[in-house]
C-alpha cells in the first residue's frame, strides 16, 4: 500500500508522456501491476476492464477504453470530433512550439484532443457522455475541451439527455494561457444552464483529476462519483510539499480521502459503474429503476461504502 501511494505521490500535472504506461498495450504482453507488482497477462487485464484481478487496482484507461468499458457496445456516437486546437499564444518552451507538440501528440495518441464527447447508451439509458483522455497532454483542459464540453451540454439540454462526464486531468493547459483558464467559466456556465432545466450531471472522477477540472464543473455536478484509489485534488502534491514543507499524510487526496472529507458522493468500482449510473439516471429522469432486471448484473455490495458507525445505526431516528 505504501509503495502505491509513493508512486502516486510522484504524479506531476505536466504535459509529457505520463499515463502512457497503460495505453495501447500490445496483444500478448505481460504487464506488471504497479500496486501489487504481480505480473499479469495483458489480455486478462483487458478482459477485466484494466482492473488487476489480483489486487483490484484500477489501472488508468484511455478515453476509448473507457467508452468501451462503460457504454453499451456500438452505442457511442461521437460528436464534434472535427473541433481541433489552435496555438493562439504562439507558445514555445524548451521542447519547442505548442503547435509541434500538438502534432506529435495527435500522431502518438490517434486523438485530436484530450476530450471526446458524444451520445452513448449505458445499460440502455441514453446519455450525453464526455470522457477525458489522459495520454493526450495529461488531459489538460484547453479551448477544444471547453468548446466540445459546452456544445455537448447545450445539445443534451436541447435533447433532454442526462450528462455523464468521466474526468481525469492534470489541470488547465498552460500552452493556451488564459484561454484555458476561461474554459472553467465556460463549462460551468453550460452546466448551470443544464441544471436550470433540471437535467442531471453525473461526474465520475478517475485517476488522476487535478487543477482546473477539479475546480470547475467536475466537482459541482449533481452527483460526484469516483473510482477506488483515484488521486483527486486541486493542487498537485509536489506543489503542496514545496509550499508547505510538510509531509503529506498517507492516503492524502485519494478518492477514499475525498469521501471521508465529504467531497464526493460515492466510490464505485469500475465493474459496477454502468449499473450505478443506470440507476442514477432512472432516479433523476423520472424512470422507474429496473433494479431487478437480470441483464443489469447489479451487485450493490460491490459498491464500496464504509460500514456505518454504531452511532449512526442507533441515532438519527427522528420519528
Amino acid at each position: 500500500m505504501r509503495s502505491f501511494f509513493h508512486r502516486q505521490g510522484k504524479f506531476r500535472p505536466r504535459s509529457s508522456d505520463e499515463g502512457s504506461e497503460n495505453q495501447a498495450i500490445p496483444e500478448d504482453l505481460w504487464v506488471k501491476c504497479p500496486k501489487c507488482e504481480e505480473v499479469l497477462y495483458s489480455r486478462e487485464l483487458e478482459q477485466n476492464a484494466q482492473v488487476c484481478p489480483k489486487c483490484h487496482h484500477h489501472h488508468r484507461l484511455t478515453a476509448r477504453q473507457r467508452v468501451a468499458t462503460l457504454t453499451d457496445a456500438g452505442s457511442f456516437d461521437e460528436w464534434d470530433q472535427d473541433i481541433v486546437p489552435e496555438d493562439p499564444l504562439a507558445f514555445v518552451d524548451p521542447k519547442g512550439s505548442y503547435a509541434d507538440k500538438l502534432a506529435q501528440t495527435q500522431a502518438k495518441t490517434g486523438e485530436t484532443e484530450s476530450l471526446i464527447t458524444g451520445f452513448a447508451c449505458i445499460r440502455s439509458r441514453s446519455v450525453a457522455l464526455a470522457v477525458a483522455d489522459f495520454p493526450f497532454m495529461g488531459a489538460s483542459m484547453g479551448s477544444v475541451w471547453g468548446e466540445k464540453m459546452t456544445r455537448m451540454v447545450e445539445r443534451a439540454r436541447d435533447e433532454r439527455l442526462p450528462v455523464v462526464t468521466v474526468n481525469a486531468s492534470g489541470g488547465a493547459r498552460m500552452h493556451e494561457g488564459l484561454f484555458s483558464l476561461m474554459q472553467m467559466a465556460k463549462t460551468v456556465a453550460a452546466f448551470d444552464r443544464l441544471g436550470r432545466e433540471r437535467l442531471p450531471h453525473f461526474s465520475v472522477l478517475v485517476d488522476p483529476c487535478y487543477g482546473g477540472v477539479t475546480a470547475s464543473y467536475a466537482t459541482v455536478a449533481d452527483i460526484v462519483l469516483a473510482e477506488p484509489e483515484a488521486m483527486i485534488g486541486f493542487a498537485g502534491q509536489r506543489v503542496i510539499e514545496q509550499v508547505t514543507r510538510q509531509k503529506l499524510p498517507d492516503g492524502f487526496q485519494t478518492a477514499e480521502f475525498q469521501l471521508e472529507h465529504g467531497m464526493i458522493d460515492l466510490i464505485v468500482d469500475r465493474a459496477s459503474l454502468p449499473a450505478t449510473l443506470a440507476i442514477l439516471v432512472d432516479h433523476h429522469m423520472g424512470f422507474s429503476p429496473q433494479v431487478d432486471a437480470v441483464d443489469m448484473d447489479l451487485d450493490l455490495t460491490v459498491i464500496d461504502m464504509p460500514e456505518p458507525l454504531p452511532a449512526q445505526r442507533t441515532g438519527g431516528n427522528g420519528a
Binding site: 489552435e86 524548451p94 498552460m174 476561461m182 475546480a215
Partner: protein
C-alpha cells in the same frame, strides 16, 4: 491626452511581460482595501462563510459606490509580515470562496450590484485547503457567480492568479489595469514545469501572454485601464481613475437592468453566458 499618458505610451515597449508581473506584485500597489477606502463610503465588512471560518485573504462587504449601494469582494494580501500571515499572502482558502458565494447570494437577494477586485497569486495550495475541498469551493463560487441575478463589474488590479482569481471574476465587465497580469498559472510555476527551472519565469511570462495588452488583443477583457505611471507611484490617482471606469461600466449595466423585470434579468444572464461562451481558440477541421 495628458503628457503623462503620452510619456507612458512611449515607455511601454521597453517593459517585458515579467516586468509587468513584478509591477503587478509591487509593494505599495493599491490593493482591494485601498479601493474600498477611496471609492466606497459607509463600508461595512462582512465576515465568515457560516461553515468553518473567516478568510482574510478574500474580503467582502457592503458600501456606497458613486451613489449606489453595492457588494464588494476582493483579494487582499498584507503590507508587512504580520499582515501577510493573517491574510495568507492574499491566497484564499475554501472558506474564502464560500464566503464569496454566500455574499453573492446576499447581493442577489437585496439587488446589490457586485464589484470584485482581483489581486492574488492564486488559491491556497495547502493540506488544510485540500481537506476542506479547495477545488469544490472554487467550482461552487463559479457556479454561483455565472447565474447571480445582479450586474457584476470585475477589475484585475494586481496579479490575477489562476483559479483563485477566476473564482470571483465572472463579471459582466472585465476591466484590467495596464500593469496588472492575469494568468492560468504563475510564470514561476509554468517555468518549473515546462523549463524544469523556475528561474525561467521571464521566458514563461512572455510566451504565456499574461499582460493586459495581450488579453485586450484576444478580446478576453473589456477594457484596459491605462496607468499614467505605475500604480504604486500614484496609488490614489490610479484608484480614482479605476473608480471612474467602474462607474462608467456599472452605469451602462444598471441602465438596462431592472431586477423586478424577468426579461431584463434573463438578458443580463444571457449576455454573461455569451461573454464566456465565445472565449476559445479552435477551429473545425
Amino acid at each position: 491626452m495628458s503628457s503623462d499618458t503620452i510619456q507612458a505610451d512611449e515607455a511601454q515597449p521597453a517593459l517585458r511581460a515579467i516586468d509587468r508581473v513584478q509591477l503587478a506584485r509591487k509593494a505599495g500597489r493599491p490593493g482591494t482595501l485601498d479601493y474600498v477606502t477611496d471609492l466606497v463610503s459607509n463600508f461595512v465588512e462582512l465576515h465568515g462563510d457560516r461553515v468553518f471560518g473567516d478568510d482574510q485573504a478574500l474580503i467582502g462587504g457592503v458600501g456606497m459606490f458613486r451613489g449606489r449601494s453595492v457588494l464588494v469582494l476582493g483579494h487582499q494580501g498584507g503590507t508587512n509580515t504580520r499582515e501577510n500571515v493573517a491574510r495568507n499572502f492574499g491566497m484564499p482558502k475554501p472558506e474564502g470562496f464560500r464566503k464569496a458565494r454566500r455574499l453573492m447570494r446576499h447581493a442577489e437577494k437585496f439587488h446589490l450590484p457586485i464589484l470584485t477586485f482581483i489581486d492574488t497569486s492564486g488559491a491556497d495550495p495547502g493540506i488544510n485547503s485540500e481537506e476542506r475541498g479547495q477545488g469544490t469551493a472554487i467550482g461552487e463560487s463559479l457556479m454561483e457567480m455565472i447565474g447571480v441575478k445582479v450586474p457584476i463589474v470585475t477589475t484585475v488590479i494586481g496579479e490575477g492568479g489562476s483559479g483563485g482569481a477566476l473564482a470571483i471574476s465572472l463579471g459582466d465587465r472585465l476591466l484590467m489595469l495596464e500593469n496588472a497580469v492575469y494568468a492560468v498559472a504563475s510564470p514561476e510555476a509554468c517555468a518549473a514545469i515546462l523549463w524544469k527551472d523556475a528561474s525561467f519565469a521571464g521566458d514563461a511570462a512572455e510566451t504565456m501572454r499574461v499582460t493586459a495588452a495581450d488579453l485586450d488583443r484576444f478580446g478576453i477583457i473589456d477594457e484596459l485601464i491605462a496607468e499614467a505611471v505605475p500604480a504604486h507611484e500614484a496609488p490614489r490617482e490610479t484608484v480614482a481613475v479605476v473608480g471612474d471606469r467602474i462607474e462608467h461600466h456599472l452605469d451602462q449595466l444598471m441602465d438596462r437592468f431592472d431586477p423586478a423585470n424577468a426579461a431584463s434579468v434573463e438578458r443580463l444572464l444571457a449576455n454573461r453566458y455569451d461573454k464566456f461562451r465565445r472565449i476559445g481558440a479552435w477551429h473545425e477541421a
